[in-house]
């Protein structure tokens, strides 16, 4: 009966982490859409964005009291902004260093995966060297109180902030891909890059911009993550794999699929972690991944950015 009691609380928690997974998953899905490649270093973009946002927010607060009102909003906004910028910069550099030279040469796919792993190792360990190897927690940017109750589950400020910001980002991205000219060219490249070239789409530019958009989202997501949990140089790995799982769950290359997959995975994990054991929470994500791949490899909403977005 305990599970029934906890159900709504678990749902709220699951939705919160799920919306974070969705934000990160979009980076995987977008890059997969245009390049048909899993960007293994995406989790490091997330990590660097988290550190960027965290340091910026911490610099603003300067170890004083927990701010409130407009000051809190400002700090969160700056943290998100800096996190997103750092993420975008990291993603841009990544594309330049680890992907573009290989793409120019038409290297085999294995080469891309491996150079991304190399970039990931480099970034993780350099971050470990410069930012220390311990967990870093962020001072609270606002008093984290309960805002309202829903079906007996309490929703506190942090959860609400994360949920609202994530939802806003997802909405903006969805509009961007579906409505704008850039979105159109992203979809064109995803569908058929050769034809897109002939239609006058600058494929190189689209690819860079795709990386940057993914980086913006991951960086902002990293800040939200650091605000709730802690930041460390290895923080990217687990959320990265989970976001990838979410992308696969929804159908990799499919923007709305990634959002749906993220939220679903968050919920599954939240319920599963309660039913089994919290320490096996991570195992559940991997099991979900393997099961989806076995049963429905194309994901819930099907693959391909071009068609489904």
């Amino acid at each position: 009966m305990d599970f029934v009691h906890q159900f709504w609380q678990l749902t709220v928690d699951g939705l919160m982490s799920g919306s974070l997974y969705a934000v990160i998953a979009l980076g995987y899905t977008l890059v997969y859409g245009v390049l048909q490649l899993i960007n293994f270093a995406h989790s490091e973009v997330f990590m660097l964005g988290a550190f960027g946002g965290l340091f910026a927010a911490r610099g603003l607060m300067d170890g004083g009291d927990t701010p409130s009102g407009l000051a809190s909003v400002g700090i969160v906004a700056v943290g998100l902004g800096v996190g997103a910028m750092v993420g975008a910069l990291a993603a841009f550099t990544l594309e330049r260093v680890a992907y573009r030279p290989l793409r120019r040469r038409g290297a085999p796919r294995l080469a891309f995966l491996i150079s991304a792993i190399g970039a990931s190792l480099f970034a993780v360990n350099l971050a470990g060297k410069e930012f220390g190897r311990n967990n870093v927690s962020m001072p609270e940017p606002f008093t984290n109180g309960e805002v309202f109750k829903i079906f007996g589950a309490s929703v506190n400020t942090k959860t609400l902030v994360i949920f609202v910001v994530a939802a806003a980002m997802l909405l903006i991205l969805d509009t961007l891909v579906a409505r704008t000219r850039l979105g159109q060219s992203i979809r064109a490249v995803a569908q058929d890059s050769d034809t897109a070239v002939m239609m006058g789409v600058n494929v190189d530019r689209v690819i860079v911009l795709t990386f940057i958009i993914g980086g913006l989202l991951a960086g902002a997501g990293g800040f939200l993550y650091a605000m709730t949990f802690t930041a460390s140089f290895t923080m990217g790995f687990i959320p990265g794999v989970k976001a990838f799982t979410a992308a696969v769950l929804g159908g990799i290359g499919n923007v709305r699929g990634a959002m749906l997959g993220g939220v679903l995975l968050g919920l599954i994990e939240s319920y599963g972690g309660y039913i089994f054991q919290a320490s096996y929470k991570n195992v559940i994500a991997f099991l979900v991944l393997v099961l989806i791949l076995m049963i429905r490899p194309q994901g819930l909403l099907g693959e391909r950015l071009g068609r489904a977005a």
């Binding site: 390049l35 899993i38 260093v97 038409g106 290297a107 410069e130 794999v241 990838f244």
Partner: protein
């Protein structure tokens, strides 16, 4: 910065032109100080600063940019900047003078000679290398010998196994160390009553665990690979990554495996046959020779495998999976076979490792899996000698670096080496001839060179 493709700088002189170009000075200025040249200067200086930061002091989260600041204001930065400038000059000038330098040395029939070069490695060279491998530990001190066993020989065996998966079948396995862990824990389970919290009803000599670990790891490989190999290749990478992580999580959290403390007191290998008794003890040398023997046997066996029908089928899958399938190659079964063979070699190495000393879940971290992948790529995927030589070079370098850089920084260098390798020499130090050709073909847009599907969007539109 989207104009990297179009070179505004002067085109390099054609080899057919005779004599020195009229105004080499003008060329040089333009090559160095043209737009592309200046941009390259910025990149090289950036690389210099980056290397200064990488090799400089670290810092903590309280003062996150302190390490960077101290690296940049340190006088050492001048050296790195000068190196950056040197790199810039080399990068910009070499393409200009290269055709002049190699003129006259170009073989008339490059393509033909490359393909018709001797097929089999010369036996003399192999024997010389073997003799070197046998004699070298005698010239080394105790810590180097220890490292020769733990860091080089074990990893060479692992790299040889992973080479079957990456190099022969063209799949990426990122949880390779999980099978190593299976071998190691199986050894602890079967050979000792107290190494971990559970033990088998019969205690076996470690030698008997070899076949058990072999089979266990292969079964794990088939269970894992079966469902995922049907799909696109890059899913395999992420699933194996997850599997590696699950195995480590379980090893770390389960009470059966003794948790994070790991296993102690696994008995050393020993032989008791016909009144002959020998035990491999603390001394690293006997272990080294045993491992060397295993490595040589593995290399020979895999050489036979590579040249067999199976090996040729693997090559076919790598080069064009659809065509292979159409000609009747059972692609799924062969990919699974490669995966299982790789896994069982890893399990085998795990037994060696476990019987050598104590181990804990830390040994089986994701980093270790990445390290083995790096070794294979660096050495040259698909080339048996290549991966062994690659292991010796990289791990030897790690041993030398041990006193120079903090151990935790080593992976930064590994990451950098991997990227540089992929950009400039994706075929590795000693590439296999076939692999080299495949990569060339793939770059020309023919075939895939791995079983992951065709090359990604080649934005060659502007080049």
């Amino acid at each position: 910065m989207t104009t990297t493709a179009t070179h505004p700088s002067p085109a390099p002189p054609t080899p057919s032109g005779s004599g020195l170009p009229p105004s080499i000075g003008k060329w040089l200025t333009e090559a160095l100080f043209g737009r592309a040249g200046l941009r390259m200067l910025a990149v090289c200086l950036g690389l210099g600063v980056l290397s200064a930061i990488v090799t400089g002091p670290g810092s903590t989260a309280d003062e996150p940019f302190d390490g960077i600041r101290r690296s940049v204001i340190d006088p050492r930065i001048v050296t790195f900047l000068l190196l950056g400038v040197a790199l810039w000059v080399v990068v910009r000038v070499t393409p200009l003078v290269w055709p002049i330098l190699v003129r006259g040395f170009e073989p008339a029939r490059a393509q033909v000679t490359e393909l018709s070069r001797q097929r089999y490695s010369p036996i003399g060279l192999n024997l010389a290398l073997l003799a070197f491998a046998i004699l070298i530990p005698l010239a080394l001190g105790a810590p180097a010998r220890q490292s020769l066993v733990n860091d080089i020989a074990i990893y060479a065996l692992l790299a040889l196994g992973l080479n079957v998966v990456i190099g022969y079948a063209g799949m990426l396995d990122l949880g390779y160390i999980a099978f190593f862990a299976i071998g190691a824990y199986a050894t602890a389970y079967f050979t000792s009553e107290k190494a971990i919290n559970v033990h088998s009803p019969v205690i076996l000599n470690p030698f008997f665990v070899f076949p058990i670990a072999f089979v266990l790891a292969a079964i794990a490989g088939v269970i894992l690979g079966g469902p995922t190999l049907r799909l696109r290749g890059d899913y395999l990478a992420i699933v194996t990554l997850g599997f590696g992580e699950i195995i480590q999580l379980i090893a770390n959290n389960s009470e059966f495996t003794n948790g994070p403390r790991g296993a102690f007191g696994v008995p050393h290998l020993s032989i008791h046959v016909f009144g002959f008794h020998y035990e491999w003890g603390q001394d690293p040398l006997p272990y080294y020779y045993l491992l060397l023997g295993l490595i040589v046997i593995t290399m020979i066996a895999f050489g036979q495998l590579e040249r067999s029908r199976i090996g040729r089928a693997w090559a076919a899958i790598r080069e064009d999976e659809i065509a292979a399938e159409a000609t009747g190659v059972p692609t799924l079964r062969l990919k699974l076979l490669a995966f299982a063979i790789g896994a069982s070699v890893s399990g085998f190495a795990g037994v060696m490792y476990a019987s050598k000393q104590f181990f804990n879940p830390q040994t089986f971290s994701l980093q270790a899996s990445f390290l083995v992948v790096t070794l294979v790529i660096f050495g040259g995927m698909g080339s048996r000698l290549g991966v062994v030589v690659g292991t010796v070079i990289l791990q030897g370098l790690a041993f030398v670096l041990r006193d120079l850089v903090p151990a935790t920084d080593r992976l930064i260098y590994f990451g950098a080496v991997v990227i540089i390798m992929m950009i400039f020499r994706p075929q590795g130090v000693i590439p296999s001839r076939r692999r080299k050709r495949e990569i060339k073909l793939s770059e020309a847009g023919i075939g895939g060179a791995d079983s992951l599907g065709a090359a990604p969007t080649a934005a060659g539109s502007q080049t």
